[in-house]
Symmetry: C2
Subunit: 218 residues, 2 copies
DNA sequence: ACACAAATTATTCAAGCGTATAATAACGGC
DNA sequence: GCCGTTATTATACGCTTGAATAATTTGTGT
C-alpha cells in the first residue's frame, strides 16, 4: 500500500504503442530482419537494428521468438518460400509452363541483388547451423523436383519417351543453368541488358533438351 | 633506472614464441581466417578465434593488418585467386583446354562445401562493403573472360566463324552452368555421384556450343 | 466503469568484440 | 657476447551484443 515512494523518475512518460495481431507482428519482424540482412549483412542484423525497423523496441523480439536464432530461421523460411513460389504457373501447356518457370526465376522480383545478398548470407551459414541446412535442403529439393516434373511433361508433350535418368540429368543441368544465371544477374546486373539472361537461358535450355522452347506458346 | 618496482606479478613468465617471416605470418593469418569463416561463419570469425588458429595471440593481427577489415579483404583476395587459378591449363588443344576448365571447376579441390561456404559468406557482404565488391567483380570478370577466350578458340578450331556476340552469349551461358553446378555439388554433394555433375556439364556445354566436346582429346 | 491478462517498453547484466598500449622475448649486426 | 630493433605477448578500455527482468500501457470481457 503506502510502501511505494513516488520519485520524480517515475513521472517520465513512456512511448505509446498499440497491440498488433500476433501474425502481423511476426511478419513485420521477419521482413525487417530480411531487410537488415540485405542492407547491412548478417553480422550487422542485430536485434537492436531489426526491432526499430519493425516499429517496436528490442525487448519485444523475445516475446515473439524464443531467441534471435529462431527469428533468423523464420526469416530464412519466409525468404525461401517467397522465392520458390514465383515460378509456379498453374495453367497453360507444358511448354509455356516450363518457359514461364525459367523466365520467372531470371527476372524481377526473383533475380535482383537484394535477394542474392540474403540468399548468400544464409548459405554461408548452412554449414554452421543444422537448422538452416534443413531449411535450405528442403527448398532446394522442392525447386528441383518442380523443374524435373515440368521437364518430364514438356518432353512427353513432344512425343518423347525419355530414358530412365534422362529427366533427372536434364533437371540438374537446367537447374544449374538457372541458378548460375540468376547469380550473374543479381551480382552484375549492369553487365546485361534487361532480357539478355532470360533469352540465353531459354535458348540454352532448348538445346539441352533438344526441343524448341518458346515463351509465347500456351 | 631504479624507478621500476619489481612486483611479484612481473615474475610470471611469458609464453615463448619465434619470429616468423612476414610473408608466412600473413599467409597463416589469412588461411586461419578462411578456415574460421568456413567452419564458424563470417560473424563468428573473430580476431580472438582466428589468431590462435594461426598460432599467435590476438594482438598480433594488428601488427600485420591495419584492421580486421583489411585481414578479411586479404582473405577474400587470396580465396578468389586460389579458386580462379585452378581451371588454367597452359597447353593442349583448344578442345582439351576448354574441357579441362569446365571439369576442374566441378571437381576437387574447387567444388566442395567448404569453398561454397566461404564464397557465400563473402558474397553476402558484397552489397555492404565496396572493397569486397571490387574484389568480387574483378575475379568474376577474369573468370568469364578466360572462359570466353577458351570458347572462341574452341569454335575457331572447329572451323566456325562465330557471329558477333555469339561467344559472349555462349560464355555467359556456360559460365552460369558451371557456377550453378558448382553450387549444387558443394551444397548437396551426397545427391550426386562422383563424376555426375562434371559429365552433365560437359554434355550440356557441347549441346550449347553445337560441337562435340571430349575430355580425352589433346 | 473496471479489472484483469498480456503485449510492449525500459533498464540492467554478463559476455564478447575490435582496438590501443605497455611490457617482453627473439633475433641479426657488430 | 652484447645491443638495439621489432615481432610478439599480455592487459586494459570502451562499446555492442543477446538476453533477462521489472515496470507500464493497452485492449477486452463483463
Amino acid at each position: 500500500m503506502s510502501h511505494q515512494t513516488h520519485s520524480p523518475a517515475e513521472l517520465t512518460s513512456r512511448r505509446s504503442f498499440h497491440r498488433a495481431p500476433q501474425a502481423s507482428r511476426r511478419r513485420d519482424l521477419v521482413d525487417a530482419a530480411l531487410d537488415c540482412i540485405a542492407e547491412l549483412g548478417l553480422s550487422a542484423a542485430t536485434i537492436r537494428v531489426i526491432a526499430p525497423r519493425a516499429g517496436v523496441t528490442a525487448g519485444l523480439v523475445r516475446h515473439y521468438f524464443a531467441s534471435k536464432e529462431m527469428l533468423i530461421q523464420a526469416a530464412y523460411r519466409s525468404f525461401m518460400a517467397s522465392m520458390t513460389e514465383r515460378g509456379f504457373a498453374p495453367q497453360g501447356s507444358a511448354e509455356s509452363r516450363l518457359a514461364h518457370f525459367i523466365l520467372a526465376n531470371l527476372q524481377e522480383p526473383v533475380a535482383n541483388s537484394r535477394n542474392i545478398s540474403i540468399w548468400a548470407a544464409f548459405v554461408g551459414q548452412v554449414r554452421v547451423d543444422p537448422a538452416l541446412a534443413l531449411i535450405h535442403h528442403e527448398a532446394y529439393l522442392t525447386f528441383r523436383d518442380t523443374l524435373e516434373e515440368l521437364i518430364a511433361e514438356f518432353l512427353a508433350a513432344h512425343g518423347e519417351k525419355p530414358e530412365r535418368g534422362a529427366c533427372r540429368r536434364h533437371a540438374i543441368a537446367i537447374n544449374g543453368l538457372i541458378d548460375g544465371l540468376w547469380l550473374e544477374r543479381g551480382l552484375a546486373a549492369h553487365l546485361f541488358s534487361e532480357t539478355e539472361l532470360a533469352d540465353i537461358a531459354l535458348s540454352s535450355a532448348e538445346k539441352i533438351l533438344g526441343q524448341p522452347l518458346s515463351r509465347h506458346t500456351n
